[in-house]
Symmetry: C2
Subunit: 195 residues, 2 copies
């Protein structure tokens, strides 16, 4: 079914064009017209794939999540010790290279935008809270967590820490370079794990 | 000098009108026209106080910081033990009531907006990183920090944690209510302090 493949490929290309426009001009600049131009398509051709800007927005957000989730799934399959695995997964969420910095940049812009738009149906959630629950549960199940920790509050703390450092890596990359991001994440995970 | 007072009061009222417009409509809706309408002024009258939208934006951002800083200064003057003081200050930054939730809402919108606007001069910084350095330094100087901590990484971790939980309190207030925010902040500070 080559036609279906083309259709999906084209939709992805349009979503990626939307990402680039957002990174360059912010959400204010992410008009259907600008996105069509960036994708090298006519307005009519773009409307063939996405009926309105909300459809495109939700698709582009979902694509960010799919890419991140697919990287996380590969890490989960790697044969490395549990603590290293959790750290490696966190480093697929927190931006430490150009690709994940770009993802975080569009995600941050999306989040600030949809906060004020109650009219957009099916806005996807990033799932980081549920992920954090799994990571803490996994460290606990493998006997790596220190004694006496409050698991609920460790989840809340890790969730806040991860999203906060991701935002800082995005907004202040000069000060907080990837080496420092990695050191801080390792430091936090080591602080809650037995030696 | 009643005239100067009126001038400053009027500027504050306009900035507060901008906050309300942002909270209701997002940065996309924060046009000079909408802000003038919300403030009950003509466009001409608004332009008497702010020559352009950037001037107003920077003023409105600065006013958010001034309010937060003035609350923090009052807390610093209170006669309470150092650990309680640090926690109380953090609870002036992280939103735990309607006033601080509104501040965080406009600040988050500002931050996402100015990220893509290299043309706005004198964008103020929130100073939370410098604050975090002071809080960790203060806990260290008063002998409250546990032995063997890495101060640089504790600053980075607290900074990420505080900004992350502030963002979550803003974006997900149903799940993360103020009681849970307070418990998590106390938990983190207790985890780095001696009993």
């Amino acid at each position: 079914m080559p036609k279906i493949v083309d259709h999906e490929e084209r939709k992805k290309r349009i979503a990626e064009a939307m990402w680039r426009v957002i990174l360059d001009k912010g959400m204010e600049g992410a008009t259907v017209r600008n996105i069509a131009e960036e994708a090298g398509l006519s307005l009519g051709a773009l409307r063939h794939y996405f009926q309105n800007q909300n459809d495109l927005l939700v698709y582009a957000m979902t694509l960010v999540l799919e890419r991140a989730n697919s990287r996380i799934e590969s890490v989960m399959k790697r044969d490395i010790p549990p603590k290293e695995k959790v750290i490696a997964v966190l480093l697929e969420i927190v931006p430490v290279n150009a690709e994940t910095l770009a993802e975080m940049g569009v995600w941050f812009a999306f989040t600030a935008y949809v906060k004020h738009r109650k009219d957009i149906p099916n806005v996807p959630e990033d799932g980081i809270f549920e992920g954090t629950q799994k990571f803490i549960g996994y460290l606990h199940a493998t006997g790596l967590l220190k004694e006496g920790l409050d698991l609920e509050l460790e989840i809340e703390r890790l969730y806040a820490f991860i999203d906060g450092i991701a935002m800082h890596a995005l907004l202040d990359p000069q000060r907080l370079d990837s080496e420092r991001v990695i050191k801080t994440i390792e430091y936090h995970i080591n602080s809650i794990c037995v030696e």
